[in-house]
């Protein structure tokens, strides 16, 4: 526990992404199993111990410290685990810290009755830093500026394996990830996840920008405006995952018993309507889909009023076979064959846009009156399905206005109607590859483009994800992506990024998009007018 506590403290005070990666990687290399696996779980997805909640800690402390003094302290410190770690009376006996796995074992067997005595005993064995680390680990979310992706990247860095492979196996494994360490650290066979309904990382597209492609090599599809999903059936179970790999099966129960074979398919989740893709069998705008997102339970009325369907893009696994190494054209054939076996009510296939040449395609794109369509996707006909964003295979060719994905960095309270709400947002793009430690640089500010309901959610996001205060300005943990629309972008000396946007507005709030997938400065730079 001492090493883990030292790691947590170091991470709290480290701002450089590279340094955080180095710290975690070093810990993972030097720490034995299963301690490092539990630590990795705590840093990535978080651990859950039903008996240990924030309120448990509060009650425990109120028994030892005067309740008024506890409340005053908690208000000042702003974090229950930290307040408790500072206030816990130092025991008479010298610390005898448990290992991380011993702590996890003890936490696991605690129940509502035993937790008071057992958690106290555990706290008595630790110093202040150890208590902080233990309570953070015990209550889930660490909130120390380490994302799940960063923890996995550090794991990959520690053992010189590909982070995409880590992502591939990750969702089929559970803490303390013994198989993952055996594979990465000891060179054992990779974990077998074939018969598990696990998430596979998505293939992503690059912006096309000035590139011109030959349609003999590339197929075009519309870029639909819903959310990217993956539907997986394996081992007798079906699950639906969002773009970030979150299991959203419970929100869309209509898909859970519908695939006739074991398969992993990639598609756009949409709601029936007549905006996207024509009146018959078309899809509604993104706003309609939003009615369905984020719900834990779904009423029959919801299912009826906003019937969802998946517009299929690709097939990754089919009846035990990994289709990903095969060319897109072959997968497309397999996908069409599969689609014909699926009910029209819940599936259709994203049709290929036919054009004689690139110029013709450009006309089709500009001529499309369908505002909700974001643009075109261009997929190399011989491209394998590769996790992440690989240059030259898939391109996204977005329509005007110019759109980039930015990360929320700072927020300020608005005035008038929006006073007391954090409604003025400064956002940034990555100055290089975020997975290699690039920083975000501010590129613009926006105050509009969202509804009042959005504003409430954004305000809550800012307040609960503040990492820093500079007078009236809140710095956030940079976990939220905005799709920002703007008319043009120009060189500017006012910003560190050297760029300034004209009329930027929030086009869409990408609650589903991981921040490291936001655009880079260099992408924005290619859009400079004139």
């Amino acid at each position: 526990m001492e090493e883990f506590a030292a790691l947590i403290d170091a991470l709290v005070y480290t701002r450089s992404r590279n340094e955080k990666l180095r710290l975690i990687a070093e810990y993972l290399r030097l720490t034995p199993d299963p301690d490092r696996g539990w630590a990795l779980a705590a840093l990535s997805d978080g651990l859950d111990f039903p008996a240990v909640k924030s309120s448990t800690i509060r009650n425990l402390l109120m028994d030892r410290v005067d309740p008024v003094l506890w409340t005053l302290s908690r208000d000042f410190v702003g974090d229950t685990a930290e307040t408790a770690s500072l206030l816990w009376p130092a025991p008479d006996t010298p610390p005898a810290p448990p290992s991380v796995s011993e702590a996890v074992e003890l936490l696991t067997v605690m129940n509502r009755k035993s937790v008071v005595a057992e958690l106290s005993k555990l706290l008595d064995r630790l110093d202040s830093s150890g208590r902080y680390a233990l309570l953070k680990l015990a209550t889930g979310g660490m909130r120390i500026g380490v994302s799940s992706r960063l923890a996995k990247t550090a794991f990959a860095q520690a053992f010189e394996v590909a982070v995409d492979d880590v992502e591939e196996y990750w969702h089929g494994l559970a803490p303390p990830y013994a198989e993952l360490f055996a594979w990465a650290a000891e060179g054992d066979a990779p974990p077998d996840i074939e018969n598990l309904p696990t998430f596979r990382p998505f293939m992503l597209a690059h912006p096309l920008e000035e590139t011109v492609v030959d349609l003999a090599d590339y197929a075009a599809e519309w870029k639909w405006d819903g959310i990217r999903v993956q539907l997986v059936r394996a081992g007798g179970e079906t699950r639906l995952f969002s773009r970030s790999g979150d299991d959203i099966s419970a929100t869309f129960p209509e898909f859970l018993d519908i695939l006739p074979v074991n398969a992993v398919v990639d598609g756009e989740l949409l709601v029936r309507g007549n905006t996207q893709g024509g009146e018959a069998g078309g899809a509604a705008s993104f706003n309609a889909l939003q009615q369905r997102l984020g719900r834990k339970t779904v009423s029959n009325k919801m299912l009826k009023d906003y019937p969802a369907f998946i517009r299929l893009y690709d097939v990754l696994l089919l009846e035990g076979e990994d289709m990903r190494p095969r060319p897109w054209s072959e997968r497309r054939g397999q996908l069409e064959a599969l689609a014909s076996r699926l009910p029209d009510s819940h599936f259709d296939i994203s049709s290929v846009v036919e054009a004689t040449d690139f110029e013709h395609l450009s006309q089709i794109r500009e001529g499309s009156r369908d505002d909700a369509i974001e643009g075109l996707m261009l997929k190399r006909r011989d491209s394998p399905y590769i996790a992440g964003r690989r240059v030259g295979y898939w391109y996204k060719w977005k329509r005007d206005p110019l759109l980039v994905d930015c990360v929320l960095m700072y927020a300020q309270r608005g005035s008038g109607k929006r006073s007391s709400f954090f409604s003025d947002y400064t956002f940034g793009c990555w100055d290089g590859d975020p997975d290699l430690g690039a920083d975000l640089l501010p590129v613009g500010k926006a105050y509009s483009g969202f509804t009042d309901a959005d504003l409430k959610k954004l305000d809550r996001h800012v307040r609960s994800n503040t990492v820093n205060r500079f007078g009236p300005v809140r710095e956030t943990d940079k976990s939220l992506v905005f799709e920002v629309a703007f008319d043009s972008v120009h060189e500017s000396k006012r910003h560190k990024s050297g760029l300034a946007m004209r009329f930027p507005r929030i086009h869409r709030i990408r609650w589903d998009k991981p921040p490291h997938e936001a655009d880079r400065i260099e992408t924005l730079r290619t859009l400079i007018a004139g």
Partner: protein, 334 residues
């Protein structure tokens, strides 16, 4: 006869001693002021007459460039004010020249602590516990979460980090009066003999400390040296310069801050501090409560800081206490 202690009046701008027509640490200019120590929130310029220890007067002179109407009172010395009030200056252990002021009138004894701490400090004599009827105490770190570790531990942390990064430097943000000199003196005590580099704003106060007999070893101004010279060394600057453009001239600085607030992680993060050093010139919770017990006054008046919690503690321990709402005391950087 007047009601007990009616001669001493806590006002928003300081403690007013009525028979002497005199204020303690007033936060605005007055005719007659008794000043506990040289920090700007206690020692303002522009008073008609100022009574303080010689070192405090020297500090005020450095800052406000005036010695007119100054009366020096050494530790243990008493000055008779008008209206039959005696004021005695007693070491407070806070910074060079800092004093508690014992006020006596009509057989009643009141102590105003100003700021104080109970830990050893090589730059000033230690706090002396003195019996009194009313004890007017500060409460900057008046929450039970504040427990300043032994300063030796913090020095080890600092020196270990320096040794681990010979190509960088450690930039320590420290309050320009008191904290900076104490950190430097403690580094010397810990055996650190290398030159220590200073931000320009630190120079005069460090010289003043040296003139008052505090040995701080070799001090150099950052502006006189190159990035290469500073590699592997400690640089001390005011907290405001930590994230300032000024620090760009330094070789990849590790940002440290010496402050009691560093005990709370989020406070350190808000300051962009990589190496928090929990060092304070104020009493922590344990020192505050111990001092109240040892002084054992009939009544405790609690001034600036987190007075709610200390008030609660007094209530729990059957000690009479009240909070004074004084304005203008700032403690963000300490």
């Amino acid at each position: 006869m007047a009601a007990p202690f009616s001669w001493i009046k806590p006002e928003p701008h300081g403690i007013y001693i009525e028979p002497a027509d005199c204020w303690v640490d007033p936060s605005r200019a007055v005719d007659r002021a008794l000043v506990t120590h040289g920090h700007a929130d206690h020692a303002r310029g522009g008073h008609g007459q100022t009574v303080a220890t010689p070192a405090t007067l020297a500090i005020m002179d450095l800052r406000y460039n005036t010695r007119e109407g100054a009366t020096a009172v050494g530790y243990g010395e008493t000055i008779r004010l008008k209206g039959g009030v005696d004021a005695t200056y007693i070491p407070a252990g806070h910074v060079l020249g800092s004093a508690q002021i014992l006020l006596e009138h009509a057989g009643e004894r009141v102590i105003v602590t100003g700021d104080y701490k109970r830990r050893a400090d090589p730059t000033c004599p230690p706090f002396e516990v003195t019996a009194c009827d009313i004890f007017i105490t500060e409460a900057t770190f008046g929450l039970p979460v504040f427990c300043h570790p032994p300063i030796e531990e913090e020095m080890t942390k600092l020196l270990d980090r320096l040794a681990a990064h010979p190509d960088r430097c450690v930039l320590v943000g420290a309050y320009a009066l008191g904290k900076a000199q104490r950190v430097i003196a403690e580094l010397r005590a810990a055996g650190h003999n290398q030159p220590i580099y200073l931000h320009g704003a630190m120079e005069k106060m460090c010289r003043l400390y040296e003139e008052h007999g505090v040995d701080m070893g070799e001090l150099r101004l950052v502006m006189d040296y190159s990035k290469e010279d500073i590699r592997g060394h400690i640089v001390v600057c005011p907290p405001s310069a930590l994230n300032d453009r000024w620090s760009r001239r330094l070789p990849d600085p590790i940002t440290a801050m010496a402050s009691g607030w560093m005990r709370v992680r989020q406070r350190a993060r808000q300051r962009n501090v990589e190496l928090p050093l929990v060092i304070s010139d104020h009493a922590d919770w344990g020192e505050l409560t111990r001092t109240i017990k040892e002084v054992d006054a009939q009544e405790n008046w609690i001034t600036h800081g987190r007075e709610d919690a200390l008030l609660r503690w007094c209530q729990l321990h059957q000690r009479r206490a009240r909070a004074l709402a004084l304005v203008g005391y700032e403690d963000e950087d300490d």
